[in-house]
Amino acid sequence: MTAAADSPFSKAPDAFSFGPRPYNLVIPVLFAVSVAAVLATGFVAIAPNRLVSGRPIGLFTAASLPLAATIAGLGVMLLATAFVPPRPSLHRVTAIIAGALVLLLLATSGEAATTMASSATGLARVSLGASFWILTGAAALAAVDAVQRAAAGPGEQIAAIAIIAAGFAAMAHAGVFDALSLAREYQARQTLFATALLRHIVLVVAAVAPAVLIGFPLGVAAARRPGWQGPVFAVLNLLQTVPSIALFGLLLVPLSALATAIPTLGALGIGGVGAAPAIIALILYALLPIVRNTVAGLTGVDAAAFDAARGMGMTPRQRFWQVELPLALPLLLAGLRIVTVQAIGLAVVAALIGAGGLGSFVFQGLGQYAADLVLLGALPAIGLALLANFLLQIAAGLAARQSR
C-alpha cells in the first residue's frame, strides 16, 4: 500500500486526487495562507515618521537571503511532516520545527528592521507588516496543534512555552528588536510600561480574588437551594449584558457621591474614577461564570457517591471537603480560567476611567493614531490572557485527573 492509500482521505475518488494526500490538514492550510500572505502583503512597513502609515516591504526584500531562505526551508519541512504517516515522535519533530520557525521569524523581523532603519533617516519608523503577523501566527498555531497531537504532558507544554519565551527574552536583551518601532515605543516608556503591566495584574487580581470569595459561597448556597438559582442567575445574567463602558459610567455617580459623603473613602482613593469603579465592575462581571461553574460542579457530583458519603456517616462538612469539592474542582477551575481571561481583557477598557494598566497605552495610541503604541498595550494583554489561560487549563487538567 502506498502512503496515499493509508490516508484518512483515501476514500475520495482517485479522479480528483493529484499527488499524495496529507494526514494532517491543519499544516497545509496554514502553509497556503502563509504563502498567500508573503506574496500579497509586507513583512515590515517603513514610514518616514511615527504618525503616518508605512509602505509595505515584502519578506524577500526586507530580510537577508539566508534568513528568508531558512524561513522558506522550515516552512517546506513543516509542510512535509503533514504527509508522513503520523506517530508521536513525528508530532514532536513538527512542534520543534514550528517553534524554531516562530523564533526565526522574530529574529528576522528585528534584522529586517535594522537594515531598513540604517538606510533611512532617524525619524523613520519600521513597523511589523501583515505577513509577519500571519506567518508567526501560523507557525505558533502549527506548534500548538503538534503539541496537542503529541498529547504532551503539562511538563512538556510548560517547557515548550519557556523555551520560546527564553528565546524571545534573549533576543530582546541582545537588542535584536531595537530598530522596530514597537521596541522604540517601549524604550521611550520603559518605566511607564513596567508600572502599567504591574497595575494591570494588580487590577485583575484585585477583581478576581474578591469575585471568587463572593461567587464561590454564593454558588455553594445556590447549589444547596435550587430555589435561589432563578433569582441569582437572573441578576448575574443582567449584569453580564451591561456593556462594560456603560457599567463604568453607572458606577461613576454613586461612587463619587460616596466619596464626597465619606471623606475617609475619598482619601483612600475611592471615587467615581480610578481603580475603585474598575475593580467593582470587573468583580460584577466575574460573578456569573464563577457562580455558574460552582453550581454546575456541585450539582454534577455523582448522586450515588453523595448518598454513600451520607450513609457511611460523613458529616456535612466532611462530605463537602472530601467528596463534593474535589469532584467539582475541574469545573471550578474552568470558571476561574474564564473570569481571569475575561478580566485581563476588560481591564484594558478600564483605562478609560483612569484605572491605569495596559489599556492606557491603547487609548493613548488611539488618540495619537499611533498603531505601535496600541500594540504596546494590546500585545502584553493578549500575552497575559494566553498565559493565564494556559496555566489554569493545565491546573484544571490535573484536577480532572485527580477526580476522574
Binding site: 455523582d302 450515588a304 448518598d307 451520607r310 450513609g311 456517616g313 469532584l327 476522574r404
Partner: protein
C-alpha cells in the same frame, strides 16, 4: 437486632410507609421484597436515619435510633447501594478505608483491614489496592462497595439492591459471596430487592411489602407454601415457579426414609429436593440412597417422597 414499631413516612398526601412494624432477629438475613414504590427502600433508609420518619420508633441493638447522632449511628451500620457510590477520586484502598478513618483507626490497623477485606472478596490486595474505581469491572466495583460497607466490622449491614446493576452471572457469584460471608460472620443483614429468586436464595426471613405495609413476614418456605394473599401469590410468580422454588429450598433430609436401601450413587442429606429430582431424571430411577456429610448411609428417598 432491629425493632421497627408503627413507623410511618408521609410524602405530601402519600403514605410511603404505613404503620409498619417488624422485628428482625440478630444474625438473620432479612430481605425486604416488593415492587418498586412499595416502600422497601425507604424503610431500609430509615434504619440509618437517611430518611426521617414521621411517627413510630426504630431500635437498633436496643437503642432508639433517634437518640443517637446520625453520623455516629451510620458509622456503626454498613451501607451498600446499587450504583456502588464508590468515590471516583479515591483509590480502592481509600474507598474501603472510609469508615475506619472516620472512626479514627490508626493507619496500620486501617491498612491491615483493607488487605483482609480485599482477600475476603478474592481481590488480590497488591493488584487492586492502588487502582481507581473506573479501572475495575462492574462486579469488582460492587465487591469493593460491599467490602467498604463491612470495613469497620459493623454488626448490621444495610444493602439496597446492591446487585441489581450487574449481569446475571456476576450477580450469582456476588450472591454466593455475600451468603458465605454472612454465614461465616453471623452479621445481621437487611437486603432490599424486587427479585424473588434473589430473595429466596439469600433470605432467612422475608418481608413482602406493598403500599408501605408488610403483607407477609416469614421464612422463604412459608411464603411459597402459604402465600398470605393474592398479591404475594402473584409476586412469587404463580404455582409453577413456586413449586420449583420449593424443591430448591427443601432438603433431602426432610423427606428421607431412614434405614431404607437403594442402589446407585448416593445423594447427600444436605442436597435440595431439586437436586434429587434432577439426579433421578438423569439416571432414570425413582429411588436413590442418601448419606450424611461423612458418607455414612442414612436411608433412601423416592420420587413419591419428593412430591409428598
Amino acid at each position: 437486632m432491629i425493632e421497627i414499631e408503627g413507623v410511618s413516612k408521609i410524602y405530601g398526601d402519600r403514605r410511603v410507609v404505613d404503620d409498619l412494624s417488624l422485628s428482625i432477629p440478630e444474625g438473620s438475613f432479612c430481605v425486604f421484597l416488593g415492587p418498586s414504590g412499595c416502600g422497601k427502600s425507604t424503610t431500609l433508609r430509615m434504619i440509618n436515619r437517611l430518611v426521617p420518619f414521621d411517627s413510630g420508633t426504630i431500635r437498633v441493638g436496643g437503642d432508639d435510633i433517634r437518640q443517637i447522632r446520625p453520623e455516629a449511628l451510620r458509622r456503626r451500620i454498613g451501607y451498600a447501594i446499587q450504583s456502588t457510590g464508590l468515590f471516583p477520586h479515591w483509590r480502592i484502598q481509600d474507598n474501603i478505608a472510609t469508615v475506619p478513618r472516620l472512626l479514627g483507626w490508626p493507619s496500620q490497623r486501617v491498612r491491615d483491614r483493607v488487605t483482609e477485606l480485599l482477600e475476603l472478596f478474592r481481590l488480590d490486595p497488591e493488584t487492586y489496592r492502588l487502582k481507581f474505581p473506573q479501572q475495575l469491572s462492574g462486579g469488582e466495583q460492587q465487591r469493593v462497595g460491599v467490602a467498604r460497607a463491612l470495613a469497620a466490622d459493623p454488626d448490621l449491614l444495610l444493602m439496597d439492591e446492591p446487585f441489581a446493576a450487574v449481569d446475571p452471572i456476576t450477580r450469582a457469584a456476588l450472591q454466593g459471596e455475600i451468603l458465605r460471608i454472612q454465614r461465616d460472620t453471623k452479621k445481621t443483614v437487611v437486603f432490599v430487592t424486587h427479585d424473588i429468586e434473589e430473595a429466596l436464595r439469600l433470605a432467612t426471613d422475608i418481608a413482602v411489602l406493598d403500599h408501605g405495609r408488610v403483607v407477609q413476614w416469614g421464612k422463604p418456605v412459608e411464603l411459597l407454601e402459604h402465600p398470605a394473599n393474592e398479591f404475594v401469590t402473584r409476586f412469587v410468580g404463580g404455582v409453577d415457579a413456586s413449586a420449583f422454588s420449593l424443591l430448591s429450598l427443601r432438603k433431602v433430609a426432610e423427606r428421607l426414609q431412614p434405614g431404607a436401601a437403594a442402589e446407585g450413587e448416593p445423594l447427600s442429606a444436605d442436597a435440595s429436593l431439586r437436586d434429587a429430582l434432577a439426579a433421578m431424571t438423569a439416571r432414570h430411577v425413582d429411588r436413590l440412597p442418601v448419606v450424611d456429610a461423612a458418607g455414612q448411609p442414612l436411608g433412601a428417598v423416592t420420587l413419591a417422597d419428593l412430591v409428598r
